[in-house]
């Protein structure tokens, strides 16, 4: 049943966010430290285990894949509620800081990626 997949996803999401909050507290930071990333790692592990032991039915996986497919629409809704007005009215310092930061980081990313070892293959199909 697809709901099993969605429930599994929800479980990983909640546990990951909780661990991220906990990690933040332990480090003395008022923020979630990598909660979503931890949730993703949990889901990767669960899927790997489910495939290896054969308890994860393809029908259940659909309950996760549907949400992954909703990702882009959700991001568009996110874009529609950004505080664009504030960002544009921040004045020259805000614009300069942001533009320079993006330029610098883009250049560093370009430099690192141009030195990528040839062994790294392009994104393979999902098995």
């Amino acid at each position: 049943m697809p709901l099993y997949g969605t429930a599994l996803l929800a479980g990983c999401h909640l546990l990951g966010i909780f661990l991220g909050e906990l990690l933040g507290r332990l480090l003395g930071v008022p923020a979630n430290v990598g909660g979503v990333g931890i949730a993703m790692l949990l889901l990767i592990a669960v899927r790997w285990h489910g495939h290896a032991r054969g308890w994860l039915a393809p029908r259940s996986e659909e309950g996760v894949k549907y949400w992954a497919a909703l990702y882009i629409p959700v991001v568009i809704a996110m874009a529609a509620q950004q505080n664009v007005l504030k960002a544009l009215s921040g004045g020259p310092m805000v614009v300069l800081a942001a533009v320079l930061a993006v330029l610098a980081c883009t250049s560093i990313a370009a430099w690192i990626n141009r030195h990528e070892p040839a062994a790294a293959a392009p994104v393979a199909e999902i098995s």
Partner: protein
Amino acid sequence: MVETLLQKLAVENGLVLSFAIIGLVVLFSEVVARQLTRGRVQGSALAILIGLTLAYVGGRLTGGNKGLADVSYFSGLALMGGSMLRDFAIVATAFEVHPTEAKRAGWMGAIALGLGTIVPFIIGVGTAYAFGYRDAISLTTIGAGTVTYIVGPVTGTAIGASSEVITLAIASGVFKAILVMVTTPMLAKFMRLGTPRSAMVFAGLAGTVSGVSAGLAATDRKLVPYGALVATFHTGVGCLVCPSIFFFVVRALFPAHS
């Protein structure tokens, strides 16, 4: 009477209405991208631009800070595009991650994450200095805001910055996130974005989940989970080092005059 009925319908079915509206935006963008640009511009890139434009219009109409979601008819967008569903959808994309690819590039992503925190911070501090700020608290807060728009206010509050400075820090972060959303598809070739490793490097450097997730969505959907895996650590790392180590360094460099 019809108007009150419609408003009631819209408010009580906010999330469902959002699905319909975003569906139309996506459909429109796909058609325009295919017909007018012959697929040279990704449909999702266009859809994100439309979303940002609508956010601007919403901000203009209401004076609020949640873009189009502040218009009562479209309040459901706040739920659909809010952090809960956004993070839920991001976690779901982990199903598409190849563990071996992610593991191979993991350390590279971590290095990029470090650079992506230090470099924007230095640029933010430098820009604030150029604009006349000399006290360590303001310099650090604006530098932190340039890392992400959450790190800015968290740092500013922790070290006691003024509310104007915190506002500027948030604005820098939001502007940077929007800039990343818009420019990533244009700069994708220059950055050689195409492999899981390159996406992880990019995500570590560019920072902010919103900027990276939208930027990669507009570039190549397959790269999203790899980028998200790294970007979600950005705010946490920033909140960890900015009010502590970075603040101490800035305070040592710019000792208070008063």
